[in-house]
Subunit: 286 residues, 2 copies
């Protein structure tokens, strides 16, 4: 492989690996977009190398199942009747258009489900949730948790406020204190496992428990490419220095970004497909 | 009142009002200690002014019922057969000795209850919990949440680690992710209301919900002077700038420090009295 191609490959892998601010949908689209640009730099072995890069990108963030899900979709779209470079570009474009349509349908379902809600609570930042909240008419008051240490809740709050919404920012610890004041909780997902459990930013599970206790509906808005069919979940550990803990012997900071929220805590999945039919849901238990 | 006395009064009121790092037990002891020093600066109206200061101190942090509880205890101890200055000093000393004994008995109960625990999770910082954790033999691994934005969990972690404990620091959002790995959850309390609900740092309610879901015992260690008999709870709001939220129109940071955790989520109260006999517990419901 030419040096230019291998450098491009390393750059996109690093970009996906190190981006802790964007959600899984955005990263998945970025990964798919990178395939044809990478392919252009190859003179031979185009399809095998594109497939290898897709596998590498998926495995660099296994927690974020959406990345592998959308890349798999792209590989399945590869046409056999075109030259390899054109085939990769065609598959990527088809996949991005399909993902766009899936997002649009998931967002529409959520907008319908939240019609009339006066106040909505969300955690962390999801591009899908951001689109839903931006589209509600009349706009709902939004309560956003900061999502420490990345504070991506601030980015979401800024975006919504700049578009005219009233936004309350709370600490992650305040989620139980405020959940009783909203009409619904809405979160995105980085992946949905075979049992319907939802992989999302840490704090989501706490929020789901608090919502259930107060009988506030807990909605998950996510596209079907987040369905991984997976059964296990390994939490993704990030730089412990982000916690700025005292650096003395005996102290170990644990900086996990994602966690699994059980399906029994989800009121409704809002998606482009009927998620309930795609997973094996356990019996509800309250 | 002499200027010296009124300045001393203002100083102790400000100290109790503005201290967001120490827990309710420590602040309560500080408030009681201040009474005789204040009384020394008075030439007349000693007992009425001491009572007035006690009421003012209690009402400056109504959420932290321990402060009012210990001051009430002190006022009840005032002997009628001594000169006023001596009476205030006597009552304060008796009260501090009694509080010390109450703490010691609560701590002993907790140490007994946690005997053999290999890992314990706590939230925020409580002087009572700190004493329990320091006294466990063999020492347990301790998981401490940071308690953003004050980060007083860091102080607790530092203290424990300096005394030889192994301490994991987690974000508040990670509480559900880690609760399944410990043998017990142990928290303190700033007050206990008439229905047994526990006033403590925000995040405690989330932690209690997560512990219940994983069937991990949730212990509350608190002295009897934290029983306020109160039925309502007004969350104490602190400086919104602590959240460092984007300062643009439409964004409102909500910085509440304390919340109420329902009694049904408490496995056992560890105290100097049988708390269960002092409150009206609701029927347990899982």
């Amino acid at each position: 492989m030419k040096r230019e191609a291998s450098e491009a490959r390393d750059a996109i892998v690093a970009r996906i690996r190190d981006d802790t601010r964007r959600g899984a949908s955005e990263l998945a689209r970025d990964a798919v977009s990178a395939l044809p640009d990478f392919a252009e730099l190859l003179s031979d072995d185009v399809l095998p190398e594109a497939r290898r890069l897709a596998r590498e990108l998926a495995s660099t963030r296994p927690t974020l199942g959406a990345i592998g899900g959308l890349l798999d979709h792209c590989l399945r779209e590869l046409p056999s009747d075109r030259p390899p470079h054109a085939a990769v570009r065609y598959a990527a474009e088809r996949t991005l258009a399909w993902a766009q349509d899936a997002s649009e349908r998931a967002v529409s379902h959520a907008v319908d489900a939240l019609h009339g809600a006066k106040a909505i609570l969300t955690h962390s930042r999801s591009s899908t949730v951001e689109r839903v909240l931006s589209r509600l008419a009349p706009p709902a008051r939004v309560v956003v948790s900061e999502s420490h240490p990345g504070l991506e809740g601030h980015d979401l709050a800024r975006h919504l406020a700049e578009n005219g919404a009233q936004v309350d920012i709370v600490t992650d610890a305040e989620l139980a204190l405020v959940v009783g004041e909203v009409d619904a909780v809405l979160v995105g997902a980085d992946a949905i496992l075979a049992d319907g459990s939802v992989i999302n930013k840490v704090g989501t599970h706490l929020l789901a428990l608090a919502a259930r206790e107060r009988e506030i509906p807990f909605y998950v808005c996510a596209e079907s490419f987040k369905l991984t069919g997976g059964t296990s979940f390994e939490p993704e550990e990030h730089d412990p220095n982000e916690l700025e803990a005292p650096e003395i012997p005996g102290i170990r900071p644990l900086n996990y970004y994602f966690e699994r929220t059980p399906a029994k805590l989800v009121s409704i999945y809002l998606s482009d497909v009927a998620i309930e039919d795609e997973v094996e849901l356990p019996p509800k238990r309250r």
